[in-house]
Amino acid sequence: MSFLELLAIIVSGTLYTATPLIFTALGGVFSERSGVVNIALEGLMLFGAFIGIVTTLLMGDTWGMAAPWVSLIVAAIASGLFALLHGVASITLKADQTVSGVAINFLALGLTVFAIKKIFGKGQTDFIQFRIEKVDVPILSDIPIIGRIFFSDVPYTSYIAIILAFVVWYMIYKTPFGLRLRAVGEHPMAADTMGINVYKMRYIAVCISGMFAGVGGAVFATSISGNFSGGTITGQGFLALAAMIFGKWHPIGALGAALFFGFAQSLAITGGTIPFLRGVPSVILTILPYVFTILALVGFVGRAEAPKALGVPYEKGKR
């Protein structure tokens, strides 16, 4: 296998597996920047995957090829609403945010599979008839070398995710909304005295994070797994969380981290088929992303401050 071919496979594998992580990690950035810990990403992703598949299955005949794409939007809305539960618990009811997140994860797993059994009378769905496919991007894929490596065998969602990362960056660092979001996550009382509604901001952030995670899950389901069961999302949500922290709570950082994870994963999987990796036990490659994350946290991210008010429920007039 030529080196170019090999590179192309790894790159496309990277983008392919990284995409759901990117969406979800971006979601995480929103909620954690506003000071709300989001362990719930896993559950929100699962919920999104569920909505994505069910929508595509039920509407496939009517919408055809558009179905999976529409399902992403539906998933975004549904998961956004589902996330509000996390909001109510951790913002209004002052629950421990990590704990509430754990609860969301339980709930998502329970509800979705319960619903699947109710709707389809079985524990996992059929395969969707229309998927989000890997494509060769017109024109771009014809560019010599670059085209083969970066614009072939990749679903459009990957590019959307990457572009979105920059949009989010702009939102958070250049707009009033972003300034307020960060203020609420750093020093909510200060924001409050400046007339910013802390609760509202946090609700919005959590809702957005739900939408992104939902899309992440739906993308995973409609482009990778192709059907839904309780085991469809196993850990991708936590991996996205890691990516977000690895990326220092910064959209572009999260993007980079997610891509790195995707890279390590696809290396781990394809390792056996790659000549110079044959010798390496695949377990080494498999645990690589996790070990690197830890090392990264120690090395460069160690000092990267989390938002100061992260995990602290805000109470008016309490210090």
Binding site: L93, T98, A103, T234, G235, F238, P281, I287
Partner: protein, 352 residues
Amino acid sequence: MPKITLSPRMIGVLVPIVSAVFGLLVGAIVMMVSGYDPIAGYGALWEGMVGTPRAFGETLRTMIPLVLAGLSVAFAFRTGLFNIGVEGQLLVGWFASVWAGYALHLPSVLHIPLSILGAAIAGGIWGVIPGFLKGKFKVNEVIVTIMLNYVALYLTYDFIKRFLDAGNEKSYDIQETASLASTMLSNITGGSRLHWGIVVALIMAVLMWFLIDRTALGYELKAVGFNTHASQYAGMKVSRNIVLSMSIAGAFAGIGGAMEGLGTFQNMTAMSSFTGIGFDGIAVALLGGNNAFGILLAALLFGGLKSAAPQMNFTANVPSELINVIIAFIIFFVASSYVLRWLLSRLSKEGK
């Protein structure tokens, strides 16, 4: 209005109870909405929890690892740490216990304690890593433990295949001398898989209570957990304490793994996804108010729910996933007890 006076202690007891009840109510509503008969459902559930001696035995057996997972989470929590890494610590503990149980040849009196110790050490080491990183580099332990869960998952899988492969995704069985299984316990519970681990679990619960609430070490660990600066000013070694409490938490979880390895299964399966006990542990610790006795009760409840789920499915055709929904809502209610506590404390205030 009537004089109600509730001590914070009382409230602390009421909150979980009320939450559990609410959780079950939600479960009932979900059943009704989706066209199942709650009475039948809960009837079956109850049947599956305590209906027969065997059922009760299974409830107790399921409870064992939950107790240890809960203790692990709670211990860390009480010392200002969040141990979301129980899952990984439990897996390495499980593996270590099985390895020791298989490789060593000793009389039971030595073999069992040694295998459990092995598990404790393995889990402890898995806890030391995040502890050390937090103590030395201020790295967020939540994220490190999550990462280590996956490392543990894949490493144990690989190690089983590499060193203990008995085919069929299983490791070799442990020696008889290392087994916690008990025909006696099994017989009195109508042939359930209840094993001596239940005793271990009880001992560990007492140990945790004693460590945290009665010893100077516990005092120091709590102080560091609440306020590292003040502890440092008072001459305590902060990072040493963080490492210590994470490793103790890890040891509890590791022993939880040993309970599965030496008790329930007598071996370890090469798993490609988590057991879920770790996260159940968070729920248990929370419902148990991070206190040893509460954890025993919480574990009993969740153990019952989990082991009875198939029964509910069997006789009432209610999908067992309902249990996760119920547990989720119980967690919500406890975690959101802010409001509940506030209400209750208002009530008691009115009384005065």
